[in-house]
């Protein structure tokens, strides 16, 4: 049954973002702010970088603000020290990615001014951005979100988050469904999914953690992964992508959102997150970790799978 | 932190029988301190010390079922009796460590084992949840001049890593609570020794010997009275005191209080609300002498 989701606070959040943005820009605390702005189509939103206090009225927060903006900081990180502090608007899920990036020495907390957004959820698809946010249209990641209120930010608008209705956990259910299948059935499922891949690498481009200057999968000495979009190469790419993100992925699900072929990419990442939680009690969160679960160990780690 | 404290309450069998005054004083004290206490519906015996000597699965199942019942009531589980406390904690500890036993117990009680709930002895609630500062603030009549021997017995802190109430062999939590209500505590040697507990009926000779050593030590340290947190210890120290005095031709005349009675007294509760009349060694002369009544 479709249930409406209360997003009435977003107007107040937008106001608060604007006034804080104005303050920090005019006081010179930051040189620029990465945020969301109205895009061309009705109801849609797009990322924007503003550096002038006069532009703060462009900033918004709506259910169409789906992007994880932290990706812009990784691509631009070399510029940060030159240009001074940068402000960024982050939802809880985005903040987890930023925190992960700090743990991987890609960003420094002191170079950032974090504007945290209390978030009741965003749309799953922005094909029709002018849609009401309901239990049907909400993004799958928001259904399982435990971080609606970002913590450790420099500024968070003081609004009270409305209660959100209990929602079906699509990822968890889908993972459980796949786990219950036989290996052959799972193979068939993923073979079908990966076969769709056209190797556009949008998933890599949008991922905050894919910050390598040269991707392993682009190398030809040796060629670790076949680069053509044939099933064998696609399969290897997606498995390696999931493995490289294991213990790092913060679950923003941007990979899946931008995939033009609708491959359920975030399922792989969520599955790995689930396993690492079970094995090593590790979860991406708001605290910077020096070492992720796959860069540390315990003498007593499970080894029941080793003969 | 000003939110109201609320607990599920597991009195245990003794408190509904020989230790009625412990139950009464606990309820009255918590009311006075505005701490919510809701008795767990349909609770039953924890098996105490005998059950686990006979059948481990039975003893674990009894406690596991009670823990499951306690889930119905909001709040951590408050326990008054040291034996119940020990058994409930032991059950949690064992079932957490041992998946096989856990499965057996789940089968026996026909319900999933719940281990998340915290089991707390009254002492912890007073000293930590409420806090010594807030406890001290609630005192209306400090127990000044009253020298108390705090008696822990065997079960409150032992064995290591199970109850985790305080330091295993050198706890101070009772002393901390009593100092907060203005009493004086004595340093004595036998505060951790066994009183003989439930040998009280089967081997009274042993109990008399052990309990005498405790009373002797308390007296030698200059205590006016003894404080306990366990109805079994209380039974041996209080009810048997006259008999022990006879056997050893000596006189102790040491009233034996429950924690809640002494703390309640300091908080201004009257003798009838604390069940002081139920004590065998009459505490009235002492309390009058110290001008506490």
């Amino acid at each position: 049954m479709t249930q409406p989701i209360d997003t009435s606070i977003y107007a107040a959040v937008t106001e608060a973002i604007r006034s804080e943005a104005k303050r920090i820009l005019s006081e010179g605390q930051v040189s620029a702010i990465v945020g969301y702005a109205v895009a061309r189509r009705k109801g849609s939103a797009q990322p924007i970088v503003i550096s002038d206090a006069a532009d703060v009225s462009k900033l918004i927060f709506t259910p169409a603000c789906v992007n994880n903006l932290s990706v812009y900081l990784t691509k631009a990180k070399k510029e940060i020290p030159k240009n001074g502090k940068i402000g960024i608007v982050v939802k809880g899920c985005d903040l987890k990615a930023l925190v992960g990036l700090m743990g991987e020495s890609q960003l420094k907390r002191e170079d950032l001014f974090l504007i945290g957004v209390p978030c009741a959820g965003v749309l799953g698809s922005v094909l029709q951005p002018d849609t009401e946010l309901t239990s049907d249209t909400i993004a799958s990641k928001c259904r399982e979100c435990g971080e609606r209120l970002p913590q450790g930010c420099d500024f968070v608008p003081s609004v009270t988050l409305p209660a959100t209705p209990e929602q079906e956990q699509i990822y968890a259910a889908e993972i459980a469904r796949l786990e219950a299948l036989t290996p052959a059935e799972r193979w068939a499922y993923w073979k079908e999914q990966f076969s769709k891949c056209i190797k556009c690498y949008a998933c890599r481009q949008v991922c905050p953690f894919c910050f390598c200057e040269q991707c392993l999968c682009d190398r030809n000495k040796p060629q670790m992964v076949e680069t053509t979009p044939r099933p064998a190469g696609n399969f290897a790419w997606h498995v390696i992508r999931a493995m490289h993100l294991a213990g790092r992925c913060a679950g923003c699900a941007e990979c899946e959102r931008v995939c033009p072929m609708d491959i359920p990419l975030n399922l792989l990442n969520r599955k790995m997150a689930k396993e690492l939680k079970e094995l090593y009690d590790y979860e991406a969160g708001f605290e910077v970790n020096d070492k992720g679960p796959l860069a540390s160990y315990d003498d007593k780690d499970d080894q029941s799978f080793i003969k | 932190m000003n939110s109201k404290l609320n607990y599920a309450y597991y009195p245990g069998c003794s408190l509904h029988a020989s230790a009625g005054e412990y139950d009464l004083s606990t309820r009255e004290l918590f009311k006075e301190l505005s701490i919510g206490l809701t008795e767990v519906p349909d609770w039953f015996c924890c098996g105490a010390t005998p059950a686990h000597n006979v059948d481990e699965l039975l003893s674990l199942s009894l406690c596991a079922k009670n823990l499951e019942l306690a889930e119905q009531v909001e709040g951590d589980l408050a326990v008054a009796c040291a034996a119940c406390f020990s058994r409930l904690k032991f059950t949690q500890h064992t079932l957490e460590e041992n998946a096989t036993k856990r499965k057996q117990v789940e089968k026996a009680i026909d319900a999933p084992v719940k281990l998340d709930g915290k089991v707390k002895h009254l002492l912890e609630i007073l000293a930590r949840d409420l806090g010594l500062e807030r406890l001290a603030a609630a005192v209306k009549k400090p127990l000044s001049g009253l020298k108390v021997a705090c008696y822990y017995g065997c079960l409150l802190t032992r064995p290591p890593d199970v109850p985790n109430l305080d330091c295993v062999e050198a706890p101070t939590i009772m002393e901390d609570v009593l100092k907060a209500v203005g009493a004086e505590t004595v340093a004595w040697t036998h505060r951790m020794e066994c009183c003989g507990a439930n040998f009280t009926l089967s081997r009274p000779g042993v109990v008399i010997q052990l309990t005498n050593a405790i009373l002797d030590s308390a007296k030698a340290a200059g205590a006016d009275c003894v404080m306990v947190g366990c109805p079994l210890c209380h039974g041996n120290l209080d009810i048997r005191q006259k008999e022990i005095e006879g056997v050893y031709s000596t006189s102790y005349n040491l009233p034996v209080f429950y924690i809640t009675q002494l703390v309640g007294l300091a908080c201004g509760l009257t003798a009838d609300k604390l069940g002081l009349g139920a004590l065998i060694v009459n505490p009235m002369p002492l309390l009058k002498e110290k001008q506490l009544l």
Binding site: K78, P81, K82, E104, S105, Q106, F211, C212, E213, Q214, C215, L216, R219, K221, P222, Q223, M224, H244, D290, K291, L294, A295, S296 | P159, P160, D161, C167, V168, E169, A170, P171, T189, M192, E193
Partner: protein
């Protein structure tokens, strides 16, 4: 194009019995890049090696594969031969067709097919091998020894006697450590100071040893052969060069009642003091916390009476930097105290023994001072509370040791023996006294140790009770010891005049902080970890740092001295060459691809990865990348497997080499 030479060994008949070596040579000879292929009866023999060398020169071979036994057997042999023929040794690989093929299969067809594949795999691999130059690291031939107990003294003397400079750093005002505190030593009962003090004097007089007492390690930088150590010399308030050690200052000091730590606080010392008369150096130090001059500004008596004018109240802590090539850590041990422990501590204490509040419950070291002829009682066993001679004395072993529930599970190793020694010393000094010992087991593995232990029972009349003590309490002027005798199965109560606890050996306080400065690993008790429990017991995993004595684990004196000499031998091995050569199997960072996520640094077991700034010509920071110090890298390759972009690569095991092997199959 490579010109690969393949040499198939018959190994007498060991290989050729099950592998058709001629066919292997023939088939492998067809592989692209293979210019020469042959088989020979014994490749490792002189003629075999000459065949190899000759082929390299005549056939102008670029790479070599020798298919023979395990590389663990002869890789070195063939690489040397290849080097002699003018090729880089790392252009030679071995294919294991003996241990992994001919010896484990019977079917000749199967074994031959497998051998062809194994050799083919190595041919593909060797094509990707690169010239690897041997890595050399310069070595500073000076050693630092941390800790001036018997371990540090022995190591320092051994290294210095070999002609190398040694810097010996000691935290206390004098060297000597715990051994200087002991009365007699087991199993010979010779006087500790009599055997110890000559060695201390040797240290003081040795021209190659620079001694820094009252000093601590502040910072350690660098790596094997090239450490920079910053040492803090704490203000002594007495000029070591001027002081003659006459001792007048100590006689005149008006503050006299400060408990002396060296005497386990039983004896007293003045505010300007040496911890014990035989101290090295014999230069006093002013205890500024207790000195009237430092507290009130008045007094100044010591300065007035000092003839040479050595007393200097203005002295300050100074930092000095020393360059050394090797470090021996010999920081020794501390005793577990029975005091109440802070909550949350791993060590839970022995509250039931009276929080150490009962004055006549003492530890083993205190008993040593009571028994020592130079101790506060002049060697008379007198109890601290009232100075009476104890007639009933109880010794309790395993206090803290082997007590998991108290937080320590290990055995302290020396307590059984020193308790036996204590019962003897007691019996020698108190003839009408009776000693009781509560023990779990007696552990006496050592030369003449068991005989010594038996003597304490059979000749010195100590009563050993197998069982532990549950509680101690004061009753009048007696201490009631409640315990159990598990051999008989009864509860025992002894009214003792004095109780001696054999408390556990723990690492020195601050051992973890020092380890962090040194970059060495330690266990949960803070004992330092050796590189390998059996085969590298004196080396740390961090190259160039060695361990001696009880800082690595509980040890008696003979073991400590042996380990100290072993550590010295390791240092001398390092110092025997001007440059340190090592196999060039190390990781290298490809800086162009490195994005500085430092996963390599997080997983490196050696701490070999550093952060390196890349700047343009104007000095602007472009990026921070990883740098692997080749002197420190152990060569495991964990960094490469972890690196997301494969920007760090282990020479000798590159992705190209490995993928080439997989793709050959």
């Amino acid at each position: 194009m490579s010109r690969i030479g393949v040499f198939i060994c018959h190994c007498g008949e060991n290989i050729s019995r099950t592998v058709d070596v001629e066919r292997v040579a023939r088939e492998v000879g067809q592989l692209p890049g293979v210019a020469f292929s042959t088989d020979y009866k014994y490749m490792c023999s002189d003629p075999g090696q000459n065949l190899l060398k000759k082929a390299i020169q005549e056939q102008k071979l670029s790479h070599v594969v020798v298919a023979a036994c395990s590389p663990r057997m002869h890789e070195r042999t063939f690489r040397k031969a290849v080097e002699a023929a003018g090729l880089n040794p790392f252009l030679c690989e071995m294919a294991n067709i003996r241990e992994h093929c001919s010896w484990v299969h019977e079917d000749k067809e199967e074994a031959t097919v497998k051998a062809v594949e194994i050799v083919g795999m190595m041919v593909e691999r060797v094509k990707k091998n690169r010239v690897l130059p041997t890595i050399t690291v310069p070595v500073t031939k000076r050693a630092l020894v941390i800790g001036g107990g018997i371990a540090g003294i022995q190591a320092a003397l051994d290294i210095a006697d070999c002609g190398h400079e040694v810097i010996l750093v000691e935290r206390e005002p004098s060297i000597g450590g715990h051994m200087a505190q002991l009365s007699e030593t087991f199993p010979t009962l010779d006087c500790s100071q009599c055997i110890m003090t000559p060695k201390m004097v040797d240290v003081a007089n040795h021209p190659k040893i620079k001694l820094y007492t009252w000093s601590e390690i502040e910072r350690v930088e660098g790596y094997i052969g090239n450490f920079q150590v910053t040492i803090k010399r704490k203000a002594r308030s007495v000029d070591e060069d001027k002081c003659t050690g006459c001792g007048v200052c100590m006689e005149k000091c008006p503050v006299r009642k400060i408990p002396n730590k060296f005497d386990c606080n039983l004896g007293m010392r003045p505010a300007i003091y040496v911890p014990f008369p035989q101290a090295v150096p014999n230069t006093p130090v002013i205890d500024r916390e207790n000195c009237i001059k430092f507290k009130t500004g008045k007094c100044g008596l010591c300065q007035k009476v000092c003839g040479p004018g050595a007393v200097d109240y203005e002295q300050e802590d100074i930092l000095i930097v020393e360059a050394v090539g090797a470090i021996v850590v010999a920081t020794g041990f501390d005793l577990y105290t029975i005091d109440e422990k802070p909550k949350g501590s791993l060590i839970k204490g022995y509250g039931e023994f009276g929080h150490g509040k009962i004055p006549d419950v003492v530890d083993g070291m205190t008993f040593e001072r009571l028994a020592s002829a130079s101790g506060p009682t002049g060697g008379k066993i007198l109890r601290p509370s009232d100075g009476k001679e104890p007639k009933q004395i109880v010794f309790i072993q395993c206090i803290g040791s082997r007590a998991r529930e108290k937080g320590i599970s290990y055995c302290s190793k020396v307590c059984c023996m020193y308790t036996a020694k204590h019962t003897m010393l007691y019996h020698h000094k108190v003839h009408d006294g009776q000693a009781y010992v509560f023990f779990m087991d007696a552990r006496t593995p050592g030369k003449s140790y068991d005989e010594f232990w038996r003597r304490s029972i059979e000749e010195e009349e100590a009563v050993y009770i197998r069982g532990m003590v549950s509680r101690l309490y004061q009753k009048g002027d007696k201490i009631v010891v409640m315990g159990s005798d598990i051999a008989v199965g009864v509860q025992v109560e002894i009214e003792a005049d004095m109780v001696v606890l054999a408390t556990a050996i723990q690492p020195q306080k601050g051992a973890d902080t020092l380890a962090q400065k040194l970059g060495i690993s330690y266990d949960k008790y803070n004992f330092y970890s050796e590189a390998h429990a059996k085969l590298r017991p004196v080396e740390c995993a961090t190259a160039g740092i060695y361990l001696a004595g009880a800082c690595q684990g509980p040890k008696d004196i003979p073991d400590t001295v042996s380990q100290a000499s072993a550590a010295a031998a390791k240092v001398m091995t390092l110092f025997s060459k001007d440059k340190l050569e090592r196999e060039p199997i190390v990781a290298r960072v490809k800086e162009a691809g490195c994005v500085g996520c430092f996963y390599c640094k997080k997983v490196c077991p050696y701490g070999a990865v550093e952060e390196k700034e890349i700047r343009d010509r104007q000095g602007n920071l472009i990026k921070v990348v990883a740098y692997v110090n080749p002197g420190v890298c152990g060569g495991c390759g964990t960094c490469q497997a972890t690196c997301p972009s494969k920007s760090v690569e282990l020479d000798g095991y590159t992705d190209e080499q490995i993928v080439a092997m997989i793709e050959s199959l």
